[in-house]
């Protein structure tokens, strides 16, 4: 499996135009949002989609399955060419809504030797959990630029492993025990981050009126950005197409 290692991940993070830690920590002020609009749209890709990679399962077949696995880092919907798992955020927003308290704590689940979700958004500095639903050993091994890398074992008996990242950036997570297991943790400076659905659609709600830079990042297709103007009580539609042939 081709791997983006530490340095590469650091480059990715800087490509993505993530703010430097020092400045991101003071930049965002949560508060009441009196008037707001919604940004909605779809991310598409019409280029050639590489075939999924075949991986033989040699470790923990009783839990991971005996059948070969097919993994792909580019999921494109059949009907509308929508791309799943694209991260979208407003990189220069200064003020807006606060984080909602989720009903369940935010978790990165390891189930059937797959990380779910594949891309998880967590607030910077907030604790979340790696959950082991499998009862076999996994390990959380990260590559990052700003945050320290971690490599923590999570044997079958350790159901919940607390994790925390301080600086906003996109962190890559792998399990060394199961070569194919891979996920991304989006450490977010504010709540205006979202991930596209399986049809490539997304929405960012409750955005105060203003003009923002909307960043778009996909693990394989890379980074794009668009300027978006939001007005009060209105929907603005932003459809983005990844250029083919990369």
């Amino acid at each position: 499996m081709p791997r983006c290692r530490w340095i590469a991940a650091a480059c990715l993070a800087s490509l993505a135009g993530l703010p430097s830690p020092a400045h991101s920590l003071q930049a965002y002020a949560p508060g009441e949002v009196a008037t707001a609009g919604t940004i909605r749209g779809t991310l598409t890709f019409r280029g050639e989609v590489p075939a999924a990679e075949r991986v033989e399962v040699t470790t923990d077949p009783e839990v991971c399955g005996v059948e070969p696995r097919f993994t792909s880092d580019l999921l494109v919907a059949d009907g509308n060419d929508g791309v799943q798992n694209v991260v979208i955020w407003l990189s220069d927003i200064q003020e807006g809504k606060g984080w909602e308290t989720p009903a369940e704590p935010r978790t990165l689940n390891q189930k059937g030797c797959t990380f779910t979700p594949h891309v998880l958004v967590v607030p910077a500095g907030e604790q979340f959990f790696a959950v082991n639903s499998d009862g076999v050993l996994h390990n959380i091994h990260t590559r990052s630029g700003e945050n320290r890398p971690v490599n923590k074992a999570q044997p079958g008996f350790l159901k919940r492993l607390p994790l925390k990242f301080r600086y906003p950036e996109i962190v890559r997570v792998e399990c060394d025990a199961h070569d194919w297991m891979m996920a991304w943790i989006v450490v977010a400076a504010h709540p205006y981050y979202t991930i596209t659905e399986s049809d490539g659609s997304f929405r960012l709600e409750n955005v105060p009126p203003g003009t923002y830079t909307m960043q778009v990042w996909h693990e394989r297709l890379g980074t794009l950005s668009r300027e978006v103007t939001v007005s009060a009580d209105a929907d603005v539609s932003v459809n983005v197409e990844y250029p083919a042939g990369q």
């Binding site: 530490w6 890398p149 490599n151 923590k152 074992a153 044997p155 060394d176």
Partner: protein, 255 residues
Amino acid sequence: MRIWHPLLGALAAIACLASPAETFGQESPWRDGTLDSSMIESGKRLYLRKCAFCHGSGGRGDGSVARYVFPKPRDLSMGLYKIHSTPTGGLPTDQDLFRTLSRGLPGTTMPSWSNLSTMQRWQLVAYIKTFSDRFENEMDLEFQPITIGTPKPPYPESVASGQRLFLEAQCWTCHGMKGKGDGPSSHTLVDDWDYPIIPADLTSSRNWRGGYRPEDAYRSIAVGIGGTPMPSFDDALTEDQLWDIVNYLLWNIGS
């Protein structure tokens, strides 16, 4: 009172004979945190003579012989180290670096520099830290070295408990049931420098990078080996359990 296992005593004696230089607990000459620039200068001169042909004159791990060497000489500019007594992802302490230079990294071409004077080794430590700004940026309390207590005597119950834990915590997934480094995941492991890596052979502790004293093994299992698939187990196992595994490794699988 502790009942001393006769074999333990004998082995400890041998270990002392084999490495007379295991007195690395010394403080760095810059205890108060100020690095004397003349130390760095002297360290640089030494580095260029002794280390650059492997680690490269800029510390990037690209010296003239680097391509003939495996594992590769460390790229010291990344601030990513295998041996550290800080939690996973942490930097080595000055003592860790001093000790690595003094011992070398067994099983690799990184030699022991115990032929250099203590002061020279400290000068080298001072200099190699300048290759990565992580050392300056990440001086915070969260990343203090872990506490390593006193080793647990290798009673049979402790060794047996270690064996159980070796199975339950699935060390064998990488290291193999007999610890030979041939577990089911051993063929697919890659390190953070993008090279394939094989799990350590747990039956030959002399080749462990970070040392084979019980305290060394404890540290390697508790915090892991930086930049490699060897994960940290300090969230998963208690101090007692870690010592049991250490005893299993040193008194069963490896003897």
